[in-house]
Amino acid sequence: MSDDTPPPETPPGDASPSNQQPAPHPVRAALPPLIESRILDEVTHGGQTGFIVRTPDQRAILEHLRFEQNFEFLKDITAIDFLGRDTIERFQVVYVLYRIPDKLNIRLHAWLPEEVESVPSVVDLWDSARWSERETHDMFGIVFDGNPDLRRLLMPEDFPAFPLLKDYPLKGRGERRQFPLVRPRGNEMVEDAPLPYPVSIGRGMHTPEYVEEVQRESKPRKK
């Protein structure tokens, strides 16, 4: 873990006021000033550093990290939904990068407002972004502008919601009942209407209609 820690602060004996600040992270120090000024904040926990930026800015930083600073390995792309929390925007898109020679892990967090739907894609920088961007799109509905193949990955193609959003209930909204039911009737296949399904609101709490339906269905049916 010692590789990740930024260089220690300069000793307090130094009189120069510019040296009062802790030395910047080596990756941040190597960024050109125009790009570096876009970094809003820096988080460090457990010896790992993450830089925080606003959305369109991460593309320039990632390009620089990929080509100038030799971050060859993009470990992961994901997103966080901060719905209902006191944050400057709703979403954060997170990039985890790794540099092989000095074994350095860094993260880049990009704030994404709810109303802005598209994020610049990094497929041309790392091929591993193809599927991770696809999955982030699948789970959060974030559009990666420039990804050539942004279909749904884990969820069905016609799934109407984005399940990892915080306002999506744990137990779903009954989408499984909404798929068309095709049954054989005689010699032909007939499409039934989807079954009605009450909405549950997660955390083990159910609507009264749902409780009623469960009770009704659990009773043995009369012949």
Binding site: G46, I80, V94, V96, D127, K166, Y168
Partner: protein
């Protein structure tokens, strides 16, 4: 014979006309095309249509035995050659990441078993290490050593099964039976240690569920004695097998740059020359105390991936030997009971432990990492680098847990590799990639 036999009824998204005539016409007309030019354009289209009629779409999976899981590969084939390949995943999607937001840190340990069900211990350990790094606690040395031993045993079980299945897919069925028999020895030890064979749920945040049974050392030493000859036997059987070698050598070649760009890790990355091993690069659980090498291959084909697994088994045996020789005694749970569960016996007899237990287990109390803390922590699982990105909001449930599944990244390159090859080569490539569907879809 019906030429359309085996043709899928499912509509293929990409097989729809590669040159849409109306759009082409409009485009050409907008450029001011003349009659002669348009004629040549339509001729190209006709030729394209004729070519397309030779092709058929074949579904390889999700129920094909060679996929070893629910993977759907959609191949467009011309004769025996795969022209285009696409994959569809998500059949085992269970929403583990969504579940994590509704469970406490301790409860979610059980979910991690279900990801890579062939080496569940490695997932347990990976998750426990991630949360411990988030909390900033270090587990006692005995717990670290036991976690290392069990992870390496589990890795051996995973690799030997993968090699067996790879051989089975290419026709060497007896190797699979031998591999299953060898893996059984690993599972016996795992069962003795935690009572379950597949869904172990062995680790806790801050320790492990209980100390190992008294005959643990004997069993592991017996395994260390019996396994190497069997390993050598499998290796001898396959490395001198002409049929096996012909099927895997030069098939599915991934060069180092491609492997890096696609994020391949673990044995698959190292078989392509990506010199990455989390155990060596970012030693967790005291892996830096043990002397081991990270084997690496440079040819990057299915044969290299087979050799890589066999070499890694040897290194894992070496690590287990060293860890058993220096296995310390002492507690197996982090002694600060603000974050780890006290012993059950102490809970029944000791007031203080009862309070700690209550505070950890009751809903709304539990482990509470610092608000806003986040960490990406990775460990070396048998398939590759298994990462957990944990974000805390200061409550007892995480704000977000993202799993970086190694199989997910390893499988993304698969359609590129099989394009242009034969159908039988796709089996040789897929079996060497060892994709675990539970981990792929989560």
């Amino acid at each position: 014979m019906n030429p359309n036999r085996g043709k899928s009824k499912a509509p293929d998204r990409r097989a729809s006309a590669p040159l849409p005539s109306k759009r082409t016409l409009e485009k050409e007309l907008s450029k001011g095309a003349t009659g002669e030019h348009l004629k040549s354009v339509f001729q190209v289209e006709e030729e394209q249509d004729e070519e397309d009629s030779q092709r058929l779409i074949m579904n390889f999976g999700p129920q094909h035995p060679a996929t070893h899981g629910t993977l759907r590969n959609i191949f467009t084939i011309e004769g025996e050659t795969i022209v285009e390949a696409d994959v569809e995943i998500g059949f085992l999607h269970t929403g583990f990441e969504k579940l994590a937001e509704h469970m406490t840190y301790q409860q979610w340990v059980t979910v991690t078993d279900r990801m890579n069900y062939l080496s569940a211990i490695n997932n347990n350990v990976g998750y426990a290490v991630a949360v411990e790094e988030l909390l900033g606690i270090e587990v006692p040395p005995r717990c670290q050593a036991l976690r290392v031993i069990m992870s390496e045993l589990s890795r051996i079980g995973d690799h030997v099964l993968c090699v067996g299945l790879q051989a089975m897919d290419l026709g060497a069925f007896s190797v699979m039976l031998w591999a299953f028999e060898k893996r059984e020895m690993v599972y016996d030890i795992i069962e003795a240690v935690c009572g379950a064979r597949l869904t172990t749920s062995w680790t806790r945040v801050g320790g492990i569920m209980r100390d190992v049974p008294p005959n643990f050392a004997d069993e592991v030493y017996r395994f260390l004695e019996l396994f190497p000859p069997l390993h050598a036997e499998i290796h001898y059987m396959l490395k001198t097998n002409r049929i096996f070698k012909d099927r895997v050598q030069g098939v599915g070649v991934v060069d180092t740059e491609t492997a890096l760009s696609w994020g391949l890790s673990g044995p698959i990355g190292r078989a392509s020359g990506v010199d990455l091993d989390v155990r060596r690069d970012k030693p967790y659980l005291g892996y830096d105390q043990y002397n081991f090498e990270v084997p690496i291959q440079d040819s990057g084909d299915s044969w290299a991936r087979y050799l890589q697994r066999m070499d890694e088994i040897e290194q894992s045996l070496e690590i287990i030997r060293q860890a058993m020789a220096t296995l310390p005694s002492g507690p197996v749970v982090h002694e600060d009971f603000k974050t780890s569960l006290p012993k059950k016996q102490a809970v029944y007899t000791d007031m203080e432990s009862l309070i700690h237990h209550f505070k950890l287990v009751m809903l709304g109390h539990g482990i509470r990492p610092e608000e806003g803390a986040s960490i990406y922590s990775s460990t070396e699982a048998p398939c590759g680098e298994l990462g957990f990105f944990v974000v805390s909001d200061g409550s007892d449930t995480p704000l977000r847990i993202r799993i970086r599944p190694p199989s997910f990244y390893n499988y993304a390159i698969f359609p590129r590799l099989v394009e242009g090859g034969m159908i039988s080569d796709s089996v040789a490539i897929l079996s060497s990639f060892h994709v675990i569907a539970g981990e792929l879809d989560r």
